[in-house]
Symmetry: C3
Subunit: 351 residues, 3 copies
Amino acid sequence: MLKLSFERILFILLIFIPISIVMELTHSNPVFIFFTAALAIIPLAGFMGKATEELSKQVGAGLGGLLNATFGNATELIIAIFALQAGLFEVVKASITGGIIGNMLLIVGCSMLFGGLKREKQTFNPQVQGANSTMLALAAVGLIMPALVSHIFDFNTVETLSLGVSFILVITYIFSLLFSLRTHKHLYSCEEDPEECKPKWSKNKAIMVLLLTTAVIAMESEFLVGAVEPVSASLGLTELFIGVIVVAIIGNAAEHSTAILMAIKNKMDLSLGIAIGSSTQIALLIAPVLVFVSYIWGNPMTLVFNQFEVVAIIAAVVIANMICSDGESNWFEGVQLIALYAMMGVVFFLI
Amino acid sequence: MLKLSFERILFILLIFIPISIVMELTHSNPVFIFFTAALAIIPLAGFMGKATEELSKQVGAGLGGLLNATFGNATELIIAIFALQAGLFEVVKASITGGIIGNMLLIVGCSMLFGGLKREKQTFNPQVQGANSTMLALAAVGLIMPALVSHIFDFNTVETLSLGVSFILVITYIFSLLFSLRTHKHLYSCEEDPEECKPKWSKNKAIMVLLLTTAVIAMESEFLVGAVEPVSASLGLTELFIGVIVVAIIGNAAEHSTAILMAIKNKMDLSLGIAIGSSTQIALLIAPVLVFVSYIWGNPMTLVFNQFEVVAIIAAVVIANMICSDGESNWFEGVQLIALYAMMGVVFFLI
Amino acid sequence: MLKLSFERILFILLIFIPISIVMELTHSNPVFIFFTAALAIIPLAGFMGKATEELSKQVGAGLGGLLNATFGNATELIIAIFALQAGLFEVVKASITGGIIGNMLLIVGCSMLFGGLKREKQTFNPQVQGANSTMLALAAVGLIMPALVSHIFDFNTVETLSLGVSFILVITYIFSLLFSLRTHKHLYSCEEDPEECKPKWSKNKAIMVLLLTTAVIAMESEFLVGAVEPVSASLGLTELFIGVIVVAIIGNAAEHSTAILMAIKNKMDLSLGIAIGSSTQIALLIAPVLVFVSYIWGNPMTLVFNQFEVVAIIAAVVIANMICSDGESNWFEGVQLIALYAMMGVVFFLI
């Protein structure tokens, strides 16, 4: 019932695809373009996620896991690549920060809050979520390193450092796939509910939806990114705020809803797997890929996050680790994570 | 026997009430006024705590918990409000820092040390103390945020941020009361020893003592605060040192003794509940209330702590979390916390 | 078989003792002197460690533990004292940093990686390793304090602070010996394998080897330290890099190999005890002793680490704590620690 209405909302939101196209073609107010494109991306990302999931069920565990791992944050990557092309480096980096803290604080927080509302406590596998959040802590150290040296080093050294860190992060990510898909895959298997593992779409349908959504997301991302600067000017919001709060939420809205729905159904491992896994992937795969792409394009983006982003990432990682390390959650832990996100929001809004 | 002599010490210290009044009226050396007022506050805070406890036993669990939660750090609040009125913002903020690190390091440290001296180890509920120390970590992030942005923002923005953070902290505190007094109250109940839960004072006596001690503490706080500046000048101590080490200890001396006594009796949950709970309350309730009061008075105090306070708070929170997360303690963990407090003391003394 | 070939390698490396002496006497290229002295120190440190271990088995648990605790990092101490005498303060501090992060990240990482390769997971006593890594976190706070105040304080105050912190660290170290050798020695006993506890060398042999290796290490350290400046100039490496990466590894190479061998044999408590214990000892004993020695010599070295060292130490301590707190490890946790070390390596190389 809940699931059904959730999918229906996604279908209804598809109406924003034609609306955003009309807006773009008629050179409407960029604020309208920005928000209609954003609303259009939400269901597209949702169906892309669904298609990835369906496809991955049909190609064997190994390749399936790889598919999930690679397409998991495809929407964010597409938006970020268009922003990169437009030279909006601050927006790109802010959307990385926003993706990490949004997942670790807002989504994990909402999951623990809504999941814990009518329960004494919820439990999850601390080994799996602990591994994920430790990996994120490692990535956080890597991501903040260039910021720490940017005052003393020249640009070339910071660039080299960004490339070096990115390289190490990607290697670690590859090892993490080896860990979760091969040597310790039993920790991640969906034993609980075999129903969930059965494919519901045909392989061809899944591939078609995947290709189609990717194409439309790319188009909408171009609309969205093109409107960032005028929107930031006319609404008086900084590009940092748009990146951290707005862009980071859009790309993941559907996935986020799934994480919260899973928590309400008391499937905390699935829920945290989505949210923390998404953070980890942004830090260890998306961020490095963006550094590489910008380098290849000859206009290298370094990983120099600003001071607030650095503090936000460290705080999110450390506190989420404290909360996840015992394998138990309750609604108040959710409230705390949301409170931390709200504080970050105030800071990024005021800057 | 031990308890008896402890109460007797409190009674004896009451002698400093008339002494401090005479000192003040005869305009004696401010150093004498400062220390006699300080010594007078110790038993007053002790009896106020006792009265709160007795009253809270007789008004039902919900209201009782609320009373305890609100009056728990009343002495510190009264002292801080007088310091606020006198414009001693650095002393106020230093006493917030001192209250947090004093409880988390010195008091928890002494409890674990003395409690663990003749025992292999002591155990406590990691879920409860974990929740408390996570909440403190959250508050720590909020409290240090304004300091991080103070270099770039103008005063008004920092003030807005301080108000925003204070607001979020108070909301979180209210939710924590809902958690500990309603949805998860069984975690905090005094099941172990029903004897402890029986009232020993009549309701009227408790109310009388509460009103009387509040009034006298207010008077002594005025003496104390009035003497801070001359004392700091004549003893060559900074206001920071006086705030962090001296003021923070006075307001809580009686409560601190209780925490350590409970640890010696192997009631670690009660002991840690007092010490960590007190830290949490200072960070999530007292600090925000002081920001609101100063704002209403038209001379707003921002939450811009200095660099050493920021490091001290972070270090205290992280290390206390490491030590409390396993639900076990031994004397050496106590030594480590005290050693950390001693290092902080050296730094604050040297500044 | 593995053990045998390991000892054989040490014997073969002894050939570098005469080679380095010839190099030094013929005033060869400092790069050759540096590397032959370094290679000569590796087996010497190994045999010194063996001799300490054998001797400690024969003098009773208390004195034996003390011997192990004091001579455990003797090689590093000797090298550092020669560097101190030569005024190479940056190299000394860098070797402290390098010793801490090398043990916590590279050695613990390799142990968890190689030990976990063919195992689902390995387990260890979280109480013991937790105590060790908490102690290290405490020491880390102490070690970074002087760096935090160095911008505002004059040199004398920073010196006083360094002495104060060193004093507190040594006191804590002494209490830690009381804990591990007396009140909680059962946690650290070698119950598992009584074979390991039997002496294999005679007492006289052990004492002879101890004296001899100490003397030769001192000589080789003088060669090594004398060559640091020309080597750093001719290879284009900073003294920081040489200190953090090279010097820190040489002094501990043999001990490190033992830690990894123990992990491969699934004796994780022994393995982590060596690696984390070594870090702890560097932070709480070696660093303070070097501060005291420099002070007595009239040319005081302060504990002002540079920004990268501070971040490296904090990151190493926090992440190693996250990984060690659950009492379980797997190969991927090892990979993560090594990845973190590699990132640090890149930073220190680029500076």
